[in-house]
């Protein structure tokens, strides 16, 4: 019942209410994993589906992700100590030479909302930094973004370096000029046209990683 109220708060983009309801569930002693899965991940999945279907748009998706983030911040300390198995760590960034980060930020937020640990390296990230961050954080996935046609070669270089230095790493790519075909040609494991698709892909990758 109560996790459904959290759902409703997320779907009406109310972050204050979302946080209050999550806190109330924590105080009541509801299982943390249940609050996360039923209260936060489920509505954000619904939002993602509506976005991919073209029924809602970036403002609504971001507002819902913000509400989920508020709730997630309250859950995080418990998730860390409960020893619950991590859902996976993803390193994300915009490739070298590219300063565009709106799409990348939306993807990062949706991945966080889905319960992944997201290490956001920001913009203009050199290939070597993806490698070192992926190693240091023991990431399973690296996600690369590019908006400019001019920086697409930098994406190819980053994929090549990651392949060499981090064998077994799953790499996904995205951004306005990126296509499935380009992703395949540069040897990435996958391309998603939007943020909800990136979440689905990350889930699929992690299901096969261990």
């Amino acid at each position: 019942m109560a996790t459904e109220d959290i759902c409703r708060a997320v779907l009406s983009f109310n972050k204050v209410q979302t946080a209050a309801l999550v806190q109330a569930e924590i105080d009541k002693g509801t299982e943390i994993a249940k609050i996360l899965t039923d209260g936060l991940v489920a509505p954000l999945d619904e939002v993602g589906k509506k976005f991919s279907a073209g029924d809602i748009f970036v403002p609504e998706m971001l507002a819902a992700a913000h509400a989920v983030k508020e709730g997630m911040n309250l859950l995080r300390p418990f998730l860390a100590q409960s020893g619950e198995k991590k859902r996976g760590t993803i390193v994300i960034g915009t490739v070298s030479g590219d300063l565009h980060d709106i799409g990348k930020n939306i993807v990062a937020m949706m991945l966080e909302g889905a319960g992944f640990e997201v290490i956001d390296l920001g913009i203009n990230v050199e290939a070597g930094r993806f490698v070192s961050a992926a190693k240091e954080k023991e990431a399973q996935i690296v996600a690369l973004s590019a908006l400019l046609t001019m920086t697409m070669p930098a994406m190819a270089e980053a994929v090549a370096l990651l392949r060499e230095k981090c064998p077994g790493m799953k790499i996904m790519v995205g951004g306005a000029p990126i296509t499935d075909d380009f992703a395949r040609r540069i040897g990435a494991d996958g391309f998603s046209i939007d943020a909800p698709g990136a979440v689905d892909m990350a889930r699929r990758f992690l299901a096969t990683v261990d």
């Binding site: 748009f57 403002p59 507002a63 030479g97 001019m150 920086t151 306005a176």
Partner: protein, 356 residues
């Protein structure tokens, strides 16, 4: 037939002698073209038979101090920083002055720019110099003139702007009101000073992304429709027309644009979803003139000369049927575009763009 007559006839959906031409490119391309053609910017426009010119009233307002972090501040109080990367340089927004604004009051307290900060005294003289061309307000060539939605994302920051549209509409509306006060003053003075010689108001505001609208149609109607309608009426009161720029997949908003009084739609980003030129011409060609349509995301940087020629030919055939089309790239030519491709594009356009 001079450029102005050519543009006016085309906008009236009649066949001129040929399709009017426009050009836009990043600074890097302009520099390389100038060197290769041994000319300056206006020489490039002349070389490609560009029919459009713009008037840029000089800024005479208060000098804005640099931001604490060295950012260059514009008159809206938005800070930008140049970042040099190993692929070139680019500019990013570094200071969004309304990022902490919560109430409409916070927004009204901001130091908003004034139309008096521009010198309109030489507009007439500049317009006379271009009297044979179609003359627009700034933006059709120059970078940096943005519409309401663009400015909101700069002022509040992209993420905050997007979420506040959902969760704090009153604060967003207060900012829109302030921005529109400036626009109304600025464009009224510019048209007045032009004494009938300025015939296009170029208004740039992106509502589409690569795959869909950035915001819903109801949200567009609630926040942005009236800005466009107000400015297009303003232009029409001075005998001008509005050319609206919106990148991305915007098919679903076109009926609203037409209802708001938009005469010309730019840039027809054909690589975005659903932006099929045949469909556009069929459904809206009777009411709208199209400007753009030549892809700069894939075709111009990566296409072969053959593909470019084929594409230019098809675009002209489809969009140019019975007038109603201005030939132009769908954005600035990006720095990775080979100059031969640009040359081939305009050569083809001039070859096939003739109605005679």
């Amino acid at each position: 037939m001079n450029s102005k007559e050519r543009v006016m006839l085309t906008m009236a959906h009649e066949k001129a002698d040929r399709i009017p031409m426009n050009f836009r490119a990043t600074d890097q391309i302009v520099q390389r073209l100038s060197r290769s053609l041994c000319t300056d910017y206006f020489g490039i426009l002349h070389h490609y038979r560009v029919d459009f010119r713009e008037i840029i009233p000089p800024y005479i307002g208060p000098k804005s101090a640099r931001g604490k972090d060295g950012s260059e501040m514009d008159m809206w109080g938005v800070g930008r920083k140049e970042v040099v990367t190993d692929r070139g340089r680019d500019v990013m927004i570094s200071i969004s002055p309304l990022r902490d604004a919560v109430t409409p009051e916070d927004v009204r307290k901001h130091a908003w720019p004034k139309a008096e900060w521009f010198d309109f005294s030489r507009v007439k003289r500049m317009a006379l110099e271009f009297k044979d061309y179609s003359v627009s307000t700034p933006g059709i060539h120059i970078e940096g003139y943005h519409g309401v939605f663009h400015l909101l994302t700069y002022l509040f920051g992209m993420e905050k702007c997007m979420t506040e549209l959902v969760t704090n509409p009153e604060t967003i509306k207060a900012a829109i009101e302030e921005i529109m006060k400036f626009f109304t003053g600025y464009y009224t003075r510019l048209f007045e000073a032009g004494e009938g010689l300025v015939n296009l108001l170029f208004y740039k505001d992106d509502f589409g992304g690569q795959n869909n609208l950035l915001i819903s149609r109801p949200m567009f109607r609630e926040f942005f429709y009236s800005n466009i309608s107000h400015l297009s009426s303003l232009a029409q009161n001075f005998g001008g027309r509005m050319i609206l720029h919106s990148c991305g997949s915007i098919m679903k908003l076109i009926p609203d644009f037409i209802e708001a009084g938009v005469s010309v739609l730019d840039p027809i980003q054909v690589t975005a979803s659903d932006m099929d030129i045949r469909k556009l011409k069929r459904e809206f060609g009777g009411q709208l003139t199209f400007h753009g349509g030549i892809d700069v995301q894939r075709l111009m940087p990566f296409g072969s000369i053959g593909e470019i020629r084929e594409n230019a030919k098809t675009t002209i055939e489809v969009l140019g049927e019975n007038g109603g089309y201005f030939f132009s790239p769908s954005h600035r030519f990006q720095p990775d575009t080979p100059l031969e491709n640009i040359d081939a594009l305009y050569q083809t356009a001039l070859e096939y763009g003739s109605y005679r």
